[in-house]
């Protein structure tokens, strides 16, 4: 018989679980456990990544949560199926949203309302029945048992947890006796909070941080037993209650949730009669194209057909319509609103007036934005006048229904500074040590701190990271690297569901009073829910104010679309560094670059935006590009076939779109494959994966007559560039705005 752990906490229990999901799964696999549940406190924040990773490990995942119920009691709930998952999401949402600024609490009515598809275990020591039995309040315990049995019927189990201790009779024996008297089924769990026994210290440390006390002040019984025990260990603990062990398998066999990940769930767009989403999108696209271009050239027609066809094939028509509708609504009310990022690569986006940059004029590549091999929902980020962003958000809520819209959450996690401060405080470290250790470190994790203590200039100057008496302290800090601390609102991210969001995503209050998802943007994407970034951009407000001031004071109405992009006086100002107040070009680094680049055309602004960033400057891209730009060094190409891709930047790779073009022109990849190649190089990958990409790239290049040596050199350039490459479409959008 194989024991199944049905009550397991991860760091997504927020300052209670002490082992990462990877670590828990690794241990479960080492123990040859076929199934594992995840039951974090009141949240499903870790559920999607747990579900995916467990499947990869060959372990069947069970999704659940330990929910706080009336009376500050705990109840362990497990999803049997999709309806159970949906009910758990709704129950958690109800528990969180019913009262603001209060800890979540599910009412008995809510438990009854959202019971279908869920299995309930009576919970840990804080469960209602264990608590009452522990305090010998048998009559109340019987009443509570009647309620839970009535709600969950055969899917209710008394949870037995047996931590060996000095006490001769464990609580679980009394609880088992109670279950027998009440004819209730029992199940053994270990209320797991860490993978291995020694990690109990991390749990205690996190608990102290959570309660803002010193570790030495932690109250209540302490234990080292909440680790992922083997079947043999659990068998030993429950030898006298074999049915409690057998029921773990029985419960696992009842839980068969299959999440539909990757399936887009776009909101239904209300279409005019007789139209499909595709026909209506086409109609609006061609109307927009005629407004922009007058008669359509074959190049424009072909591009529009290709883009519309791709959008249709991927099933994203209603998404484009939804974005168009929001932008259209905003613009009709004089609210400045336009796309940024890779969406600007699309001609459809441009002719729908979602973006202000013409991708034909600026030679932008649609495939960087979307292509047939990329099935993730497209991402159109909108910049909106800061003062009026809430109006746009309110419109979205009104249009799709408040129940169907929420803000996306960001999971705030530990980096070195936070870890040093919190761990230091819990361990009563002297304040001066904490301050010295935090001094000058930004955006580093505690593990990086130790790794780079001898190599990074900002760390080398302090001896503190090398002091032997502090080694254990820094190790503890590194242990909680990237552990989640709390949820907050993602900047601008709005979710729009194709129905009630809480059927699919648990929702809660943010500290600022917004309703946020319990999942972050990556998990939202996996669930296929539309996320729209509607971001406040102060520049939009400045432009709006400036235009109205000019009109009011000088009686001149300015149409931004008619401002020439090649005004010599404007470029003279840029060259003189007179750019204070100019969007994106006012920083000292940009002004310094203007003095070296001496911009005289719009393309120079795009180059400047792409160049003045830490990556390209550290890699001396400016020193390669600028002499070529001023004719002081010849423009050379590693291979003649790079001329098309890199001609506009004089043989230097500056934009992400150029990676696609190089892979297309030299290795013969389709643009879609080339984007996959770019993304693979950009994201975290193993040395082995990188080696495979290198081999494949070189083989493809050789087939096209490029020598191995040249192909190798070009691959190295692409790989180095991938770390800091800039999206040309974004640079163009911001260049136009500047």
């Amino acid at each position: 018989m194989s024991f199944i752990h049905l009550h397991v906490h991860s760091p997504y229990s927020f300052l209670d679980g002490a082992s990462t999901i990877d670590r828990l799964l690794e241990k479960a696999r080492a123990l040859e456990m076929p199934v594992l549940a995840l039951t974090d406190h009141n949240r499903l924040t870790g559920a999607i990544r747990f579900y995916e990773k467990a499947i990869v490990c060959g372990i069947k995942p069970i999704i659940g949560a330990e929910v706080n119920v009336e009376g500050d009691h705990h109840l362990t709930l497990l999803c049997k199926d999709k309806q159970g998952y949906s009910n758990l999401c709704r129950l958690l949402t109800e528990a969180h949203l019913s009262k603001r600024k209060c800890p979540p609490q599910a009412t008995r009515e809510a438990l009854r309302q959202f019971r279908v598809g869920l299995i309930a275990l009576s919970g840990c020591r804080q469960g209602e029945i264990p608590d009452l039995v522990g305090r010998c309040k048998y009559e109340e315990a019987v009443r509570a048992a009647c309620f839970y049995r009535d709600v969950y019927e055969d899917d209710f189990f008394i949870e037995l947890i047996n931590y060996p201790s000095r006490k001769s009779l464990s609580d679980s024996y009394r609880l088992a006796q109670f279950a027998r008297q009440q004819k209730l089924s029992t199940v053994a769990t270990n209320n797991v909070h860490y993978a291995d026994m020694e990690e109990y210290t991390i749990k205690e440390l996190l608990n102290a941080i959570d309660r803002n006390i010193f570790v030495s002040q932690l109250q209540g019984p302490r234990t080292v037993e909440q680790y992922l025990k083997s079947s043999e260990e659990m068998d030993g603990l429950f030898r006298d209650i074999p049915e409690a062990l057998a029921n773990t398998e029985e419960i696992a066999s009842r839980c068969n949730l299959e999440l539909e990940l990757g399936k887009p769930r776009f909101p239904k767009f209300a279409l005019p009669e007789g139209e499909t989403d595709y026909s209506y999108l086409s109609k609006l696209t061609y109307q927009g194209a005629q407004r922009k271009y007058g008669s359509l050239s074959s190049c424009v027609k072909q591009r529009l057909e290709y883009e519309l066809d791709t959008i249709k094939k991927l099933g994203f028509c209603s998404y484009f319509l939804a974005v168009w509708d929001i932008v259209h609504w905003a613009q009709e009310r004089g609210i400045r609103c336009q796309a940024r990022g890779s969406a600007v690569d699309s001609l459809v986006v441009y002719v729908l007036d979602i973006s202000i940059a013409d991708p034909i004029e600026h030679d932008l590549l649609f495939e960087r934005f979307m292509h047939p091999l990329r099935h993730e929902p497209p991402d159109i980020d909108l910049d909106v006048d800061r003062r009026r962003r809430d109006e746009v958000r309110d419109y979205v809520c009104e249009k799709y229904g408040a129940e169907n819209v929420a803000c996306v959450a960001t999971i705030n996690t530990y980096l070195a500074r936070g870890a040093i401060r919190d761990v230091g405080k819990a361990l009563q470290m002297p304040q001066e040590i904490i301050e010295e250790a935090c001094n000058g470190i930004h955006w580093l994790s505690a593990s990086q701190l130790l790794e780079y203590a001898d190599s990074r200039p900002e760390l080398k100057k302090s001896e503190i990271y090398k002091r032997p008496e502090l080694a254990d302290f820094f190790k503890l800090c590194a242990t909680i690297d990237s552990f989640p601390k709390h949820l907050s609102v993602h900047l601008g991210g709005l979710l729009i569901g194709d129905g009630r969001l809480s059927d699919l995503v648990p929702l809660e209050w943010s500290s600022g009073g917004d309703i946020i998802s319990q999942y972050d943007k990556d998990d939202i994407e996996k669930l296929g829910i539309v996320k729209m970034d509607i971001l406040s951009l102060p520049t939009m407000t400045v432009i709006e104010d400036t235009l109205s001031d000019i009109e009011e004071n000088h009686g001149i109405s300015i149409d931004l679309d008619r401002i020439p992009g090649d005004d010599p006086a404007a470029f003279a100002m840029l060259r003189d560094g007179k750019t204070i107040g100019t969007f994106q070009l006012e920083s000292p680094a940009q002004r310094e670059m203007a003095g070296r680049l001496l911009p005289e055309r719009f393309e120079d602004i795009i180059v400047s935006l792409a160049l003045v960033r830490p990556g390209p400057l550290k890699s001396n891209m400016d020193k390669l590009y600028l002499p070529r730009r001023h004719g002081k060094e010849p423009v050379t190409y590693l291979h003649p076939n790079l001329r098309d891709a890199l001609g506009e930047t004089l043989g230097v790779i500056l934009y992400q779109e150029q990676v696609l073009e190089v892979a297309h022109d030299l290795a013969g990849m389709s643009y879609a494959e080339a984007d996959g190649f770019r993304r693979a190089m950009t994201h975290d990958r193993t040395d082995e994966e990188m080696e495979k990409m290198r081999e494949s790239f070189i083989t493809c290049c050789r087939k096209n007559g490029v020598s191995s040596k040249i192909a190798e050199e070009i691959f190295e350039q692409l790989a180095a560039f991938a770390a800091y490459g800039f999206c040309k479409a974004h640079a163009v959008a911001y260049g136009v705005l500047a």
Partner: protein
């Protein structure tokens, strides 16, 4: 009732590391029954390690109940129970 002792003892274990006998104050106690065992958390923030406890019935001139713990390789008699 129990009497706290806290003295080091010399322990003998079988092949499964289970305690079979211990010598306390120069007298040999043979373990006749193991009642229970458990681990106890420590003040880890002061560098202390978890302790493994075992409660046994052991026989010298008469049989009694004893609680011992192991810290690293060293065993200690924690308490004698009446």
């Amino acid at each position: 009732m129990s009497k706290l002792i806290g003295e080091p003892v010399k322990a003998h274990a079988d092949n499964d590391s289970m305690l079979t006998a211990f010598i306390w104050r120069r007298r040999l106690y043979r373990v006749v029954e193991v009642h229970s065992w458990w681990w106890e958390p420590s003040e880890w923030w002061h560098g202390k390690a978890v302790r493994f406890f075992i409660r046994v019935n052991a026989q010298n001139s008469s049989e009694g109940t004893y609680e011992l713990y192991r810290l690293g390789e060293q065993w200690f008699l924690s308490r004698v129970l009446d």
